[in-house]
């Protein structure tokens, strides 16, 4: 078919000849390997989305975290059921309805806790209130006694109407503060809503006041779900069951809303969005990458070669990850990005050089095969050097303490070797099979260079001065680029779990960003709690002693006083609505309408209209009206009465076992929950909180703020260390291979300038590194080093049009490679996943700056080469 390479030719030439002579077996072997890799991926490759798992296990806070979770297992994975309703009563009743069902779901619910519905807190809640709150409660209840006393023995809408009628008639006898107008108005409002088919409820808590606002209310149920760790979506069963329960109870659309958040739903929704989004994003990236490739290579066949090569390399690399590690984490999963970003360059360089060679002679098969061989021989040094330096750079990540980065380094380093191997096997084999022609690609004629290709070389001095000035200007910005270790910042800000947890955190009462302190059996927990509580960053501490408060005798006396004021009926009643006879409601309605008719109340008309419609109400309507008007009493007064019936103080011995288990470990250690002061979502607040508590409690602390702080520190340190080693290793290889200090410096110049400018641009754009985008750093490192090598090698090889390295296929390959990577990942900037979006943005900025550094400043350093072309 072709001429034979002489035996004296270099091994690479003989190898390429072998490949092009037997392209099908080579391709078949690659496909078999890819098939094996796919099978391994299927069987072994898991995804670990726990950020904590990326950190070395011997870090002190990880050990504390493990100890805390051993002693207090309910602190592990949690799921918060958040119920919002227009009134506290509706929220509480909804939460009770949900918890009653949770008890019947043992296959997905291991344990749940709902303090405001818990027997211990219902009985002893008043003793846990500050004395001043109890005194204020006494005042409010005394004011309302006249209303409540009657309803206690007749808990019906009719009883309420009769009472209102009587109050209207004897207005002057009511306590001065008693807001009868508001009560009448509320009753009218509820009846109107009820008539319109809404789920309204008269809020006695709002009427009695004291909660500080009349706004909507919220209940939170903390659930420990049963997770199936064998599945990628470990929480699928519990999430689906709870979503079904929500729909069944009608809490998905009505005024009462149930939402799911906490660590389990946050992770579940993130994983699901990643899985759901991957197909679409992948397809989009494929279209854009193909488009850019087509524009750059100007041949569908060449594009096909590049894409097949890319796909095979990706599969083989993933297969390696499955075999060597068995799982990918939040950071190492981005080897895909790395592979495409770096791997595509190898193919593009090869293919463009192939076309460049064809433009001088394209007489058919012989010329094409010769071009395959020649391109391979010409690029061998640059590609091997690129692969060696970049792989070494990535392998330098392996010894770091951050498992996420170490594993990424291992996978990405191997990927570089895979891509090199494919460039000299599958790629030439495919070229030999397809034999694409030169098409419309022409070697640029002398004098046809673009201004941008001439400028850097014509104005070397100015270009270099500008470069130096930029470097100096950008340098001070570098130390300010930080790492944001809050996983909340990565996730889709519009997803249910994220919006809900943000609402909870902003209100400060979530307990989701607490710090947990493990207090040993011999330690003085009270003293430690006091010292921590004294910190300005701390709102309060809760531990076992919180549930056995001081001053209980005074409070019991206050409770007893309240009993004397209110009378036994109010306290003995359970406040559930009594049955209501239609005839009785009719009489009471008439009585109230009579009373309203003789007043000049502003709210009278509205209530009159609402009452009028009640006269034609069905039995079902009457039941609903009864529930809407007096159903809330069970929640507000029923709970209060239960608390008032308590006669004994809380002692340690009387604490229920379930409560004890939450705060007292099996080995006698105690748990201290520390609540942050201020909004932990505001910049710096959480970090200051973690630092302050750590300063007092040492390494006995864990919890979200601690982990995030430590993870941020660990990842920053690990990256700094890894990058330093990588650059040192790369420099060493370059020195050994190039042997000329000037050339080594020139190869590294685009890295230095591009890197510094990228970090400065991030600082100016307000971007921070995070778990999702930090992978841009090694990618940019690899691209910059490869670019430097290619350009310096090409310059060294000579044969430059007009002596200008920018007029070569190499320069074109650098631009096309950068555009493909930017095209493939730039669209991530529009991803709903914030972390992913920031990766897209950083890659777009970084690649642009790297290409500018390579194609503007490096040619200016290199200068013209006068010897050829």
């Amino acid at each position: 078919m072709t001429e034979t390479e002489p035996a004296s030719s270099p091994p690479v030439a003989r190898w390429l000849q072998f490949v092009t002579r037997h392209p099908w077996p080579v391709l078949a072997l690659a496909l078999v390997l890819a098939g094996l890799a796919l099978a391994t991926i299927q069987a072994r490759l898991g995804v670990d989305s726990d950020p904590l798992a990326m950190l070395a296990e011997d870090l002190p806070f990880r050990q504390t975290d493990t100890r805390i979770k051993q002693q207090f297992p309910t602190l592990d994975e949690n799921l918060l059921i958040v119920i919002d309703a227009p009134t506290p009563e509706q929220a509480w009743l909804a939460a009770r309805a949900v918890t009653r069902r949770l008890a019947d779901m043992p296959e997905v619910i291991e344990h749940y806790s709902w303090p405001s519905g818990d027997a211990f807190f219902l009985d002893h809640g008043l003793l846990l209130q500050p004395t001043a709150r109890l005194e204020a409660l006494t005042d409010r209840l005394a004011d309302a006694q006249a209303l409540l006393g009657r309803l206690a023995s007749d808990t019906t809408a009719a009883g309420l109407f009769e009472l209102l009628a009587q109050m209207l008639e004897q207005r002057e006898q009511l306590p001065e503060d008693f807001d009868l107008d508001s009560l009448l108005d509320q009753v009218g409002h509820v009846l109107e809503q009820q008539r319109a088919g809404g789920q309204a409820m008269l809020s006695w808590q709002h009427l009695l006041g004291g909660t500080g606002d009349d706004g909507p209310a919220r209940e939170v149920i903390v659930v420990n779900p049963v997770l199936d760790h064998g599945r990628v979506l470990a929480a699928r069963a519990v999430m689906e069951d709870l979503q079904a329960l929500r729909a069944e109870l009608g809490f998905d659309q009505g005024p009462v809303r149930m939402r799911l958040t906490g660590s389990t739903p946050l992770r579940f929704e993130e994983m699901r969005s990643v899985i759901d989004g991957a197909a679409l994003t992948g397809l989009l990236a494929l279209i854009v990458v193909s488009g850019v490739m087509l524009a750059g290579l100007r041949s569908p066949l060449l594009c096909l070669v590049a894409l097949i090569n890319l796909a095979l390399g990706l599969v083989l690399t993933a297969g390696f990850a499955a075999l060597a590690i068995g799982r990918v984490n939040m950071i190492s999963v981005s080897f895909v990005v790395l592979y495409i970003g770096l791997g595509v360059n190898y193919a593009v360089h090869y293919l463009l050089r192939y076309r460049e060679l064809l433009t001088t002679a394209d007489g058919g098969t012989t010329d094409r095969l010769r071009a395959i061989h020649a391109a391979g021989r010409f690029l061998l040094r640059a590609l091997v050097l690129s692969a060696a330096t970049t792989a070494l750079g990535f392998f330098a990540f392996v010894p770091t303490a951050f498992a996420g980065i170490a594993e990424l380094g291992l996978i990405a380093g191997f990927a570089m070797l895979v891509t090199l191997a494919l460039s000299y096997s599958v790629l030439p084999a495919l070229l030999a099979i397809l034999q694409p022609g030169a098409g419309r690609f022409h070697r640029p004629s002398p004098g046809a260079l673009q201004p941008w290709q001439r400028w850097p070389l014509q104005h070397r001095r100015i270009t270099l001065l500008v470069g130096a000035a930029l470097l100096l200007a950008a340098a001070p910005l570098l130390p300010r680029v930080g790492f944001d270790s809050d996983p909340l910042g990565l996730r889709d800000p519009d997803s249910e779990s994220v919006t809900t947890i943000r609402e909870l955190l902003a209100n400060g009462a979530a307990g989701y960003r607490n710090i947990q302190v493990l207090v040993g059996p011999d330690q003085d927990a009270a003293a430690l709690a006091d010292r921590i509580k004294a910190l300005p960053e701390v709102e309060r501490t809760v531990w076992l002693a919180t549930f056995v408060p001081a001053g209980q005798d005074d409070k019991l006396l206050l409770i007893e006083d309240l009993g004397w004021l209110l009378g036994p009926e109010i306290i003995a009643s359970d406040w559930t609505p009594d049955a209501l006879e239609p005839a009785r409601l009719e009489r009471a309605t008439a009585a109230l309408m009579d009373a309203l008719a003789s007043t000049s109340q502003p709210s009278a008309n509205r209530l009159m209209d609402a009452l009028e419609t009640l006269r034609s109400a069905s039995d079902g309507d009457i039941e609903a009206v009864n529930q809407a008007l007096v159903g809330g009493l069970e929640v507000t007064l029923g709970r209060l009465a239960r608390g008032l019936r308590i006669g004994d103080a809380i002692t340690h011995e009387r604490l229920p076992p379930a409560l004890l288990a939450q705060w007292l470990g099996a080995d006698g250690s105690r748990l201290l929950q520390v609540f942050p002061a201020g909004n932990v979502l505001a910049p710096g607040v959480q970090d200051a909180f973690a630092a302050a508590v750590t300063a007092v409690a040492g390494d006995t602390v864990s919890g979200g703020p601690i982990i995030q702080r430590a993870a941020g520190q660990a990842i920053t340190d690990a990256f700094a260390q890894a990058l330093a080693w990588a650059i040192a290793g790369i420099t060493l290889v370059l020195v050994l291979v190039l042997r000329r200090t000037v050339e080594v410096a020139m190869v590294l110049a685009p890295l230095a300038l591009g890197g510094v400018l990228t970090l400065a641009a991030m600082q100016l754009a307000g971007l921070q590194f995070n778990f999702a985008n930090v992978v841009a750093l090694p990618l940019l490192l690899g691209v910059a080093v490869d670019n430097g090598i290619h350009l310096v090698e090409r310059h060294r090889a000579g044969l430059l049009p007009e002596g200008n390295v920018l007029a070569t296929a190499t320069a074109r390959a650098i631009v096309v490679g950068a555009l493909i990577t930017a095209g493939g990942f730039g669209n991530l900037a529009f991803s709903p996943h914030t972390g992913t979006a920031s990766l897209g943005l950083i890659l777009a900025i970084g690649l642009s700056l790297m290409v500018i550094a390579t194609l503007v400043f490096l040619p200016a350093l290199l200068g013209y080469r006068r010897d050829t072309a």
Partner: protein, 199 residues
């Protein structure tokens, strides 16, 4: 009308104390019995306000736990008032109770007090439940919350038709205390007593 029916109440008066005396020590119902008898006696006589008041004033002093009432009316503040003012308050508060009873139970129209039950949840606490039936047949439940000690039982709260007298007064007095202190409350009560008297 009243005089013609004197016989039955007179019999009642004769029997009820007898019941009370038969007990070793007077039970929680005793003070309520005494109050109801005095009210009936007032209604069924032709005494004027002053006479009715003179009959009731020493009685309420005896059967009402005015110190305890004051504690529930003023909460923690009570202990902070000076002793002279506290004594004065107790005086005028009892004046008001007697004056109110004297004013409201002035004529007999067939009213009846019937015992319902006595609950005693603790040694020192009891609820004496009574039913007032008016001349027109309307029934009004009266709950007397009693406190007991070695000196016998006394009334702390009276809940008429679900409404606590003490809670109502607490709401009124709290506001006055906040502005004018206990002296203001004393003046307010004195005015109310005068109003009852002059009506």
């Amino acid at each position: 009308m009243l005089r013609s029916r004197l016989l039955i109440p007179a019999l009642l008066l004769a029997i009820l104390p007898l019941e009370a005396w038969t007990e070793e020590t007077p039970g929680p119902s005793a003070p309520v019995d005494r109050l109801e008898q005095a009210l009936l006696a007032n209604m069924q006589s032709d005494r004027d306000f002053d006479a009715r008041y003179a009959e009731l004033r020493p009685l309420v002093q005896d059967i009402m736990a005015v110190e305890r009432m004051a504690r529930y009316l003023f909460g923690r503040d009570w202990r902070t008032f000076e002793a002279g003012q506290r004594d004065r308050f107790a005086e005028v508060f009892l004046d008001l109770s007697a004056a109110t009873y004297a004013r409201q139970f002035d004529r007999y129209g067939g009213e009846r007090f019937d015992p319902v039950e006595v609950q005693q949840p603790a040694d020192d606490r009891a609820v004496v439940k009574r039913m007032l039936t008016t001349g027109s047949g309307r029934k009004v439940p009266f709950d007397y919350l009693m406190t007991g000690s070695d000196d016998g039982w006394q009334i702390v709260t009276i809940i008429a038709d679900g409404v606590s007298d003490l809670a109502l007064k607490r709401s009124q007095y709290q506001k006055i205390v906040d502005e004018d202190g206990l002296a203001g409350v004393i003046r307010h009560i004195e005015q109310q007593v005068a109003k009852q008297r002059g009506d």
